[in-house]
Amino acid sequence: MSEQPSPHLPEPDRPWLMRTYAGHSNAKASNELYRRNLAKGQTGLSVAFDLPTQTGYDPDHELARGEVGKVGVSVAHRGDMATLMDGIPLDQMNTSMTINATAAWLLALYIVAAEEHEVDQQALQGTTQNDIIKEFLARGTYAFPPAPSMRLTADMVAYTVEHVPRWNPINICSYHLQEAGATPVQEIAYALSNAIAVLDAVRERVSEDRMGRVFARISFFVNAGVRFVEEHAKLRAMATLWEELGRERYGVSDPTHLRFRYGVQVNSLGLTESQPENNVQRIVLEALAVTMGRNARARAIQLPAWNEALGLPRPWDQQWSLRIQQVLAFETDVLEYADIFEGSRVMDALVQELIEGSRAEMEVVVDHGGAVEAVPYMKAALVDSHRERVRRIESGEQVVVGQNRFTETEPSPLGGDGEVQVQVVDPAIEAEQVEALARWRSGRDGQAVRSALAALARVAEGEENIMPATIAAARAGATTGEWAQTLRDVFGEYRAPTGVGEASGAPDTEELDELRDEVARVSEALGRRIKLLVGKPGLDGHSNGAEQIAVRARDAGIEVVYEGIRLTPGQIARSAVQEGVHVIGLSILSGSHMNLIPDVITALGDAGAQVPIVVGGIIPEADAEALGESGVAAVYTPKDFDLTRIVRDIVALVAERHGVTAQA
C-alpha cells in the first residue's frame, strides 16, 4: 500500500452553477432569453437590470432617458417581475440579481412574484448583490448616503436569515475593485474590510447566536484576471483570511459556516477592442484560475463575451462563453481530483505573500475608521493603482497582445474595424416602457399604494426592519421609482467621492513635459489656462475612464472641472457655460451615447455655447461616424489606450477652435 492518498476523487465533483449575465429591453424579451439559455444547459440565472432600475428611477424619469432597457432589463413593478420569471420554476431556480441600492426592493418583487406562483419565500434560492460600498468605490449605482445604505443591507441580511434562509442577501464584490484597477492585495483587503463593515452592522440587528448563520450567508463575487496563477493564489488567501475572521472576530466555529463561498465573473478590464478574438483565450485562462484548485473553486461562474469591448454582446456571443464553461466542466478532468495545489511550496508561499500584504492594507482601512469611513481613501488608492496600470500599458512594460505588442494582423473573418456585430436595443423600447408604466399606474389601487408608501416612510424614519414594509409596497403595486423616492426623501441624496482630487501625479516623461509646454503656449494665447469639463451623462457609473483622463489632463497642466457621474444633458451644458470651459470630454459605457450625446449638443446650442465635445466609451464604429456628423469633434474607444495622446488631441482641438496657430 502506498502512503500517498489517491489523487482521484471517488466521484467527480458536481460542476459549479453556470450563468450568463443577461437581460435587456423589457421583461418579456428577457424572459424569452432566459428560457433559451436554460435550454442550452445554463444552470442558474443572472439578471442584468437596466440602470434606472439599479438606481431607483422609473422609466419616465428625466435621468432614465436613453438608459431604459439598455444594459439590462427594466423592472418597474411586480407585474414586470412576474413577466420576467414567467414559466421559470422559482422553487428550483437559483437566481442571482446584480442589484445594490435597490436590492431590498427587487428582492421584495421577487418574493411577491413567487407568492403569485404559490412558492413560499422559504424555498427561494439566489443572490442579491447588495454591496453598496463598492458602488461608492467603483460602480456608481448608489442611491442613498452610506449610513442608511448600510442599514438597508443589514435589514436584508437580518430578514433573509429568518425568512428566506437559502438566499444569499449580499455578495461582497471584489470584482468591481479589480475592474477599477485594484491590485490583488487591494482586492482582498478592501473586500474583506467591506465584509467586516456589513457584519458589524448586522451584529447590531440580530441575536449573538445567529451570527454563525449570518456569517454563512455572506458570499463573495470576485474577479479573475489573466495572471491566473496569482489569481488562484488570491482566492486561497481570501479563503484563509475569511475563516480566520469568522473564528476570531465573530466567534463562528461550525466549519460549514466558515467556508469561503464565491461566485465569479472573470475580468473585463483586460479584454481588448483590437483583435477581439484574443479575448477568448484570456477568458479561458481566467476561468481556469477559479476552477483548477478544489480548495478555492467558484460556486458559480459567469463569463464575459469576447466582443464586450466593442458593444453589448449578442445571444450567440454569450453562448460561446457558456460553451467555454461546459468544455471546462464536462470535457476536461478538472473536477476529478483532490486539490492539486495542496502541499505546493510555491503556491503556499504566494498565498502567504498575499495574506501578509492584505493584512497590512486592512490595518490601513481600520486606521481610517473602517470601510465606510475609508471610502475616500480606498477610492483614491484605486484611482492611483489604475493610473499605474495605464502607465505600464502605455510604456509597454505590461504586454497586451494585439494592442501594444504583436499588433500586425491578417484581415479577420469575424469582421474588422466597425464590422463586428453587437447587440442593438430597439430605441422604441423606452417609449413602450413609459407607456406601459402609465397603464400600470392607472390600473392599480392608488389609495393602497399611497398608504403603503406612507408606511414605508415611517419605517425608514425609525429603526424597524425595512423589508416587511417594502414587500407590502411591492404587493400594493408601487413602482421602483416610488419606492426609491420615498427613501430618498427620508435618507437624503448623496454623491460619492471621486478620488481624482487626491490622485498622485503621473511620473514625468519627456512626452508629458512637451505637452505641458504646449498647454502653456496655447493657454498664453487664449489669455487663460485651458479649461476642460469632464463628466458622465446618464446613469452609467463606471467612472474609471473619465477619472483617468481627468488626472492625465491635470498632469498636462490643464484646469479640469471634474463633474462626476449621473449628469443630465442640461446640467452638462449649464456647467460648461458657468465654468467657461474651452472643451468638454464625456464618457459613456452603457451604450446610451446615441441618445445622450445629441441631447448635450442640443442643450449647449440652447445655452448659446459653442464648446467642442470629445467622447470616450464603448462606441461602435458606425455610431462614432454618426456622432461625428452630429458635431462631436472626436470619439475615443478602448483601443485608444494612450492617454497622453488623447490629451494632446484635446489641446490641439482647443487651439484650432480658437485660431491659435500650430507651433512652428
Binding site: P376, L526, G557, V560, G580, V611
Partner: protein
C-alpha cells in the same frame, strides 16, 4: 466662451451685471480671468461699471468667505446653505477655489461634483477656479470676480481650502469669514490660540450628528475665544446629513455679522487689498520694495480717496513706485 476674433465688450457686460442680468456672469468671469492685454482693458471697463461711484454705493450682495481644511465638510455645508438662501428667495454665486498642482500648473476642480444644487435653478451659479501660483488661497481673478458678481447676486461665496493662512487673504476679499472646523481635529484650535490665524467672524463646527466630539469641539473653541477676548464670535454647530440641523442658526449668524458691519469700511479695505494684490502680481516683491514695503504701501492706500475703484488704486500704486528696470 469667446469665439476667436470677437473681443467681448467689458462695459456692456458690466452694465448687464449692474442691471442684475445673471446670464452675463459666465462671460464676465471669462474676461476677468484672462491675462490677454485687450481682455485686461475690457475687464477694467467692466469693473468700472460696477465701482461704488457707478453703482451709487456699495454692491448690495453679502460676500461670504467659507474656508477650512480638506474633508471638513465645506461642500456639503455649502449645498445646505445654498438651499437655505434660495428658500429665502436670494440668488447665490459660489466661487470655489481649488489648489493648483505646482508641478504641472494644472488643477482638478472637483467642487462642482460635490456641491449639490437644483440644476434647473437659474438662481445658483458655481464657478470653479484654480488658486494658481500664489500661495494664500485666492485665485488671481477671484477678488475681481467677487466684486463683479456682488452687483448681480444677493449672496456671493468664496470657498477656499486651507487653514492658518488661507483665511487671511479671504478675509480681505469678503464681508464675513466663516471658518469650518471638523470635530476632534485640533488644527484650528491650535492656530487660533497661537495667533497663526486671525479670528474669523463665524466659526462653524460640522458633523454635529457625531454628538459628543462635535459638542466638545464647540466647547473648546468657545473657551479659546473667551481667552482671546472674542466672546462675541458665534460658534455654530451644524449637520448637513439628512435631516440637516443648525443651518438656520448659521444663516442667522452670518446675517447678524453683516448687519453689524461697517460695510463701506470693509469694502474699502477689500478694494485696497485687491489693488495691492494686483500690483504684487504685476510687479512682484521688487515693486513692493520700491513702494517702501507692504506696510508703507498699505499706509499709502489708506490715504487715498475712499471712492476710488481698484483700477484707480492700482494705478496710484504704480505711479508712486519708481519705474522698475
Amino acid at each position: 466662451m469667446t469665439p476667436a476674433g470677437r473681443a467681448p465688450d467689458g462695459a456692456e457686460l458690466g452694465a448687464r451685471l449692474r442691471a442684475r442680468d445673471l446670464s452675463a456672469a459666465p462671460a464676465a468671469l471669462n474676461l476677468l480671468e484672462s491675462r490677454a492685454p485687450e481682455d485686461r482693458r475690457q475687464a477694467a471697463a467692466l469693473l468700472g461699471q460696477l465701482s461704488p461711484a457707478a453703482l451709487g454705493g456699495e454692491a448690495s450682495a453679502h460676500v461670504v468667505g467659507i474656508t477650512g481644511p480638506p474633508g471638513a465638510g465645506k461642500s456639503t455645508l455649502l449645498s445646505a446653505l445654498a438651499a437655505a438662501w434660495r428658500a429665502q428667495g436670494r440668488t447665490v454665486a459660489v466661487l470655489a477655489v481649488d489648489p493648483t498642482s505646482r508641478r504641472s500648473g494644472g488643477a482638478l476642480l472637483g467642487d462642482r461634483a460635490r456641491i449639490e444644487f437644483d440644476s434647473h435653478d437659474e438662481g445658483v451659479f458655481v464657478r470653479s477656479t484654480a488658486a494658481g501660483e500664489r500661495l494664500g488661497g485666492l485665485a488671481p481673478a477671484t477678488r475681481a470676480a467677487a466684486e463683479a458678481l456682488a452687483a448681480a447676486y444677493d449672496v456671493v461665496v468664496i470657498e477656499t481650502v486651507g487653514v492658518g493662512q488661507a483665511e487671511t487673504e479671504v478675509a480681505d476679499a469678503v464681508d464675513t469669514v466663516a471658518v469650518i472646523v471638523q470635530p476632534a481635529s485640533g488644527d484650528v484650535l491650535q492656530f487660533l490660540k497661537a495667533g497663526v490665524m486671525e479670528i474669523p467672524d463665524v466659526l462653524v463646527v460640522t458633523k454635529a450628528d457625531l454628538g459628543k466630539p462635535a459638542l466638545a469641539t464647540v466647547r473648546d473653541l468657545r473657551a479659546a475665544l473667551r481667552s482671546l477676548g472674542a466672546d462675541g464670535v458665534p460658534v455654530v454647530s451644524v449637520s448637513s446629513l439628512a435631516p440637516p440641523s443648525g443651518i438656520e442658526d448659521l444663516v442667522g449668524g452670518l446675517e447678524r455679522h453683516r448687519a453689524a458691519l461697517d460695510l463701506p469700511g470693509r469694502r474699502r479695505q477689500a478694494r485696497r487689498a485687491h489693488a495691492l494684490s494686483d500690483f504684487l502680481a504685476e510687479h512682484g516683491e521688487r515693486g513692493l520694495r520700491a513702494l517702501g514695503g507692504r506696510r508703507e504701501a498699505q499706509r499709502f492706500l489708506d490715504q487715498q480717496d475712499p471712492g476710488l475703484d481698484v483700477a484707480s488704486l492700482t494705478a496710484a500704486l504704480e505711479a508712486r513706485a519708481p519705474e522698475q528696470a
